[in-house]
């Protein structure tokens, strides 16, 4: 019995070790790259402020994998999941790391929206944007037999009576699924305060769309490709500037070509703590640019249906400020803003 017990405890310790592995090794491998002002001297931690398997996690893991396998950064890069509160738990963790140049994290639009909703103590200004690496886009889908032919049809009906049409998303009002739809409805002149939006975190929006409980599903375009292919649902529009590439994706019209002058990008990039050293920012920015241009990362993008969208630190900062303004305006209008 004791053996069995000891055995299972041992096996369990192994599991834990495996889960935390890859952090503390190779602290002093040679610095054989070209001379730089700053180079990492210990292993780097890349935090995905979400659980395993989601978009942030995949981005973090693929970034870490490409950076090490292509030999762009010699130090070990360990991906750590800090799930909770839509990212707020992970951000709080990073904010507590001071100015450590070894604690990076992945984030996207929720880094702006969650703090604006008052659900995170830290916002994008508390961190250093290093580089944006990829983008994906949102899409608005209806049942295949729905009456609306295009986005304008839908918005025309919504202008008459917004409350007749139910929009469904996975996340709560004020979060990405909701706001991305609102941006376009607002541009088209719909009274956005009257839009009836339900959130379905359990069963997901596709179910509600297919069984007729909701009329429009606002989601990431990658989430619905399969249902479009099987002709169960139709996408009225994609939120990108130009049509996307790919068999099904290229058939989805942009909102822009339907005369609604608005776009929405779900950008995803790498950030560091607030007071990060400029030299370190410059180092990572350059390395991430190098990574973004590799064949290996192009394959990763194709594999997950992401678009290339590289922005360096300064450009990223400006972009974030603009996006934050737009979100803030919308949330104020919807009276969802924290202030």
């Amino acid at each position: 019995m004791k053996k069995l017990l000891a055995g299972s405890i041992f096996a369990f310790m192994l599991l834990i070790l495996a889960a935390c592995g890859g952090d503390d090794q190779a602290a002093d491998e040679g610095n054989n790259g070209e001379p730089q002002d700053w180079e990492p001297e210990e292993s780097i931690e890349l935090v995905a402020p979400a659980g395993a398997g989601g978009g942030w996690d995949t981005t973090a893991r693929m970034t870490a994998q490409t950076l090490t396998e292509e030999g762009i950064i010699d130090q070990d890069i360990g991906v750590v999941n800090k799930p909770g509160a839509g990212g707020a738990v992970g951000w709080a963790h990073i904010a507590n790391q001071g100015d450590s140049p070894y604690d990076l994290f992945v984030s996207s639009s929720p880094l702006l929206l969650v703090p604006l909703n008052g659900q995170s103590d830290y916002n994008f200004e508390d961190f250093t944007p290093i580089a944006n690496v990829i983008a994906d886009y949102a899409s608005f889908a209806v049942r295949d037999d729905a009456e609306w032919e295009d986005l304008n049809d839908l918005f025309d009906d919504m202008k008459e009576d917004p409350s007749e049409i139910t929009v469904v998303g996975t996340s709560a009002p004020g979060s990405m699924d909701h706001i991305q739809f609102i941006r376009f409805a607002r541009e088209a002149g719909v009274d956005i305060s009257q839009i009836s939006y339900v959130s379905d975190p359990d069963a997901g929006g596709v179910t509600q769309l297919l069984n007729g409980s909701a009329d429009v599903f606002s989601t990431g375009v990658g989430q619905i490709v399969e249902q479009i292919r099987s002709e169960d649902i139709r996408a009225l529009a994609v939120t990108s500037e130009e049509r996307l590439e790919g068999e099904i994706l290229s058939e989805i019209p942009t909102a822009k070509e339907q005369g609604i002058d608005e776009t929405f990008v779900n950008w995803r990039g790498i950030f560091g703590p607030g007071d990060m050293d400029d030299a370190a920012v410059e180092y990572y920015e350059e390395k991430l640019k190098e990574m973004s241009e590799t064949e290996a990362f192009a394959d990763v993008r194709d594999n997950y249906g992401w678009d290339e969208m590289f922005m360096g630190s300064e450009e990223y900062q400006e972009f974030l400020e603009q996006e934050n303004e737009v979100f803030k305006e919308i949330l104020d209008e919807l009276e969802l803003s924290a202030e």
Binding site: G53, G84, V89, A203, L210, N211, R229
Partner: protein, 497 residues
């Protein structure tokens, strides 16, 4: 490609040497992690995801599916032996499993759990294989009003779960409801009862409450009763062998509840928990000796075990054929698919028949492996109970802490666990039953959300619950289920009079 060819392809994958090896590896890891108190399929899958990066997607997914149902299969062990459920689906298994183990029938309880899990797993795979292409329409048939009605039906179980005072059971359920409202409200985005703390924004995880109210509270109870004689007697493990009478008793509930569990498992969001609770109460209602339930009834253990395993196979329907994750566990499972570059959805069956049918076919083999792995281990596992109490109690505490920490790596959750342990202990001292609390907590959140989704889409018209056929039938069933015990007791009184 027709379904028959698909099935053949599936078996080719599942019966290939690599296929068999990966199924074996998956179910072994799954069942092992599942057995540990506090750890369930979510932790098991999350631990395995990083390992699958770069693997052959078909084999990796066959393995991951094995981890998932393997963990559910093994999950009942800690419920039965230690009253420490690792997943919500096995809470109902502790109602009769734990008393059975305490009565010196640990071996028998584990054997019943393994056999009925096997029956549930196997029947549901047959159903899955036979009807998989048609079942996606079942998965989407439930709109918010129907979900609300289903939760209502589940709630009627509260009356059956209470021993003694109904008022105390109701108080316990109301507190469960209140705790379910903590966190960001998905319909408005408002934070409720979080007191400004980020730690509470996601609400309180089920596991914290289950381990607190059951495992930690039990530890407290054992400590204060350590000198009682009955406490030191629970060391016999009993015979593993099930009598013919036992097998007969298992057969009925396992068969029935496998089908019910499977159907409920198909519904995204309902899943194994609700299936196991509804199975438990329906068996109790059908039983001629309902008073034995909760004290170690064979049927009371067989029913939820068959049901939760069947529901696990059922949950593959929305996952594979619609790409919809119906629960926290299947959401992690969906993540595993996406990590491997496979997008589940309506086209999966046509585009990747090897993956779609391979996973289903591998479940037959997986279930057989699970039975073979679990049965011979039972005598060894059951001996956990012979560990001296002080040591066992400390182990339960340690594993509960690890299990909770593994959910979100937050120390705050550990304090919550201890707080719920104290609440559970006090409830026990004052004879407030814990099951209604946990049931109301599980159902309450979803019930509130589907109610409000339905009301939003009907613009506040309550008739939406009665114009929808499914919801109407379920509401009628709820009313019947609620009034049935009352009518029954009135009749009995009449007869006595």
């Amino acid at each position: 490609m027709g379904a028959i060819e698909g099935i053949i392809t599936g078996f080719e994958v599942a019966l290939s040497l690599e296929g068999i090896l990966f199924v074996l590896l998956g179910v072994f890891v799954g069942t092992f992690i599942g057995m540990l108190p506090g750890l369930g399929p979510i932790s098991a899958i999350a631990i395995m995801i990083p390992i699958t990066y770069g693997m052959n997607p078909t084999l990796a997914l066959v393995m991951m599916a094995g981890v998932y149902y393997g963990a559910v299969f093994g999950g009942s062990t800690s419920s039965i032996l230690l009253n420490a459920p690792g997943i919500s689906g096995t809470v109902a298994s502790s109602f009769d499993g734990y008393p059975m183990a305490q009565n010196g029938q640990a071996g028998k309880a584990l054997a019943i759990a393994a056999i009925s899990s096997f029956i549930g797993g196997t029947i549901s795979v047959i159903l899955l294989m036979a009807f998989a292409p048609m079942l996606s329409s079942v998965a989407i048939s439930f709109g918010p009003p129907a979900y609300f009605a289903l939760m209502l039906l589940g709630l009627t179980a509260i009356a059956s779960l209470s021993e003694g005072s109904t008022v105390k059971a109701l108080i316990s359920a109301v507190i469960g409801f209140m705790v379910a409202t903590i966190g960001i409200d998905p319909q408005t985005g408002t934070a409720r009862y979080t007191f400004g703390s980020t730690n509470l924004l996601d609400g309180i995880d089920f596991l914290i409450i289950a381990l607190g109210l059951f495992a930690i509270a039990e530890v407290g109870y054992l400590i204060i009763n350590r000198h009682k004689k009955s406490m030191t007697d629970a060391k016999q493990l009993g015979s593993l062998k099930l009598s013919k009478q036992d097998m007969k008793e298992i057969a009925g509930p396992s068969g029935r509840q496998s089908i019910l569990g499977f159907v409920l498992g198909i519904l995204p969001g309902a899943g194994a928990t609700i299936a196991s609770f509804i199975s438990y109460i329906s068996e109790k209602r059908l039983s001629k000796n309902p008073e034995k339930f909760g004290k170690g009834a064979v049927k009371g253990l067989a029913a939820p075990e068959a049901s939760n395993n069947a529901a696990t196979s059922g949950s593959f329907v929305p996952l594979l054929s619609l790409g919809i994750p119906g629960s926290g566990t299947t959401a992690v499972m969906l993540g595993a698919f996406l990590v491997l570059g496979v997008q589940p959805g309506p086209m999966l069956m046509g585009d990747n028949p090897d993956i779609f049918w391979g996973i289903i076919a591998s479940m037959y083999i997986g279930n057989v492996f699970l039975l073979i792995l679990n049965l011979p281990l039972i005598p060894y596992i059951a001996r956990v109970l012979t560990v001296p109490r002080p040591l066992l109690i400390s182990l339960v505490i340690v594993f509960s802490l690890i299990g909770v920490y593994a959910i979100s790596f937050s120390t705050f959750d550990l304090y919550l666990l201890l707080a719920f342990g104290v609440i559970g202990f006090l409830m026990r001292m004052f004879a407030f039953p814990a099951p209604p609390f946990i049931l109301a907590f599980i159902l309450g959140g979803m019930m509130e959300q589907s109610f409000r989704q339905a009301m939003t889409s009907s613009n506040g018209d309550i008739s939406i619950f009665f114009t929808n056929n499914i919801s109407l039938v379920l509401i009628i069933l709820s009313v019947l289920s609620f009034t049935f015990p009352i009518i029954k007791s009135m009749r009995q009184k009449k007869q006595e009079a």
